[in-house]
Amino acid sequence: MNGVADEVLVRRVAGTGDEGALRELYDRYSGLIFGAGVRYLGDRGLAEDLTQDVFTAVWRNADSFDPSRASFATWIYRITRNRATDLIRRRRARVRTVGDEFVPEMGEDDQSGELSRSFDVAAALGKLSPVHREILTLAYFEGLSQREISRATGTPLGTVKSRTTAALKALRESMNASAERWPRDE
């Protein structure tokens, strides 16, 4: 299901209860949701609960997703934010004592929109070709240099460099297309 748009995948979940489509969405967003959970909830166990809660909600509410109103990335970002807020409220005493410091509610300190935009970036990444996605994943998530990517993938260094350029360009174009289709309303 590489390169299949999120909106198509969630339609499959809603229509036939396609677990494979749900797993693909999990692969695309779980790292971001879990990472956001660790950052904002300050607790890895709560971050796991958050990730599980979000995908249960996606499974249950897939048919309420309306692609004419928002992108899937925006929809799942809102689910994540709401679930995180629920978890914080429910276990406020525990969360606020982590590291003896106040842990902000998800979204409260996202004034720049960095977190919500990261969901858009994850969506754009999911739409890239496998070759482009692999190169950006290795460069940004694994922290590999161009030479290391060349060695790891058995691809000539020159090709790695031009593919990196093409992948970043494709990501930007995909984000521009999404922004045109779903202008930010918040």
Partner: protein, 222 residues
């Protein structure tokens, strides 16, 4: 600079914004950018994409591998989507039938009853609970009104309360009317509890009640 050379420069813009070029190549690109407006525009676009990817990578953290199977199993335990929706529809029908079926085992001889009083979360709510039976299980009937209709995954849960002990008697949902009349079966152990409460919950949930208490009352022997 010929087209081929210009294209080679353009192909290097990605690793350039990543800081992944050799010093000589980097210098070459820097020089080129000072003379090529088209490549400068493209470099800005790529730099933006690079910043977005960097932000994503800053938040991203791979969850424990077993979480995927746990999350999938949790979904599977809840059944296929259509089964869950059917179950929810069936619950609504059962609640409707319970409401319509106003006579039965609770007509008389209840062992205990409670009048439910509202909290600030549901100031218009109220209700009655009757408990009847002996042996391993007891039967409860709940008649409540004025509860906020359930949204999304929200549901209500009925609890027996004694000191710090809590025992769940069952859960239910409420439609737009805010009214519910529903029967439960609970273990006889629940007779040891002197109070009851109703909380608002969302799924999935921990084993205990949430802090969102909507109704509460004291059980009185009949």
């Amino acid at each position: 600079m010929n087209d081929l050379e210009h294209r080679r420069m353009r192909d290097l813009l990605g690793p350039y914004v990543l800081g992944g070029l050799d010093p000589e190549e980097e210098l070459e690109i820097t020089d080129h950018l000072s003379n090529c407006a088209r490549c400068r525009d493209e470099e800005q676009e790529l730099r933006q994409a690079h910043e977005y990817m960097s932000d994503l990578a800053g938040v991203f953290e791979a969850p424990p591998p077993e979480l995927k199977s746990r999350a999938t199993r949790a979904v599977r335990l809840r059944g296929p989507r259509w089964a869950w929706l059917t179950a929810a529809a069936a619950l609504v029908v059962l609640i409707g039938l319970a409401a319509a079926y106003s006579t039965g085992v609770f007509d008389s001889q209840e062992a205990a009853a409670a009048t439910l009083k509202p909290t600030q979360l549901a100031p218009e709510a109220g209700g009655e609970i009757w408990i009847k039976g002996s042996g391993q299980n007891v039967k409860l009937r709940l008649d409540a009104w004025g509860l906020p209709p359930c949204k999304g995954d929200q549901y209500y849960e009925l609890w027996f309360v004694e000191g710090k002990e809590r025992l769940s008697a069952g859960s239910f949902t409420v439609g737009p009317s805010g009214k519910v009349k529903v029967d439960f079966t609970a273990p006889a152990l629940s007779r040891e509890y002197r109070n009851v409460g109703i909380t608002s919950e969302t799924t999935p949930d921990g084993p205990g009640p949430s802090k969102k208490k909507m109704l509460g009352g004291e059980l009185n022997e009949s």
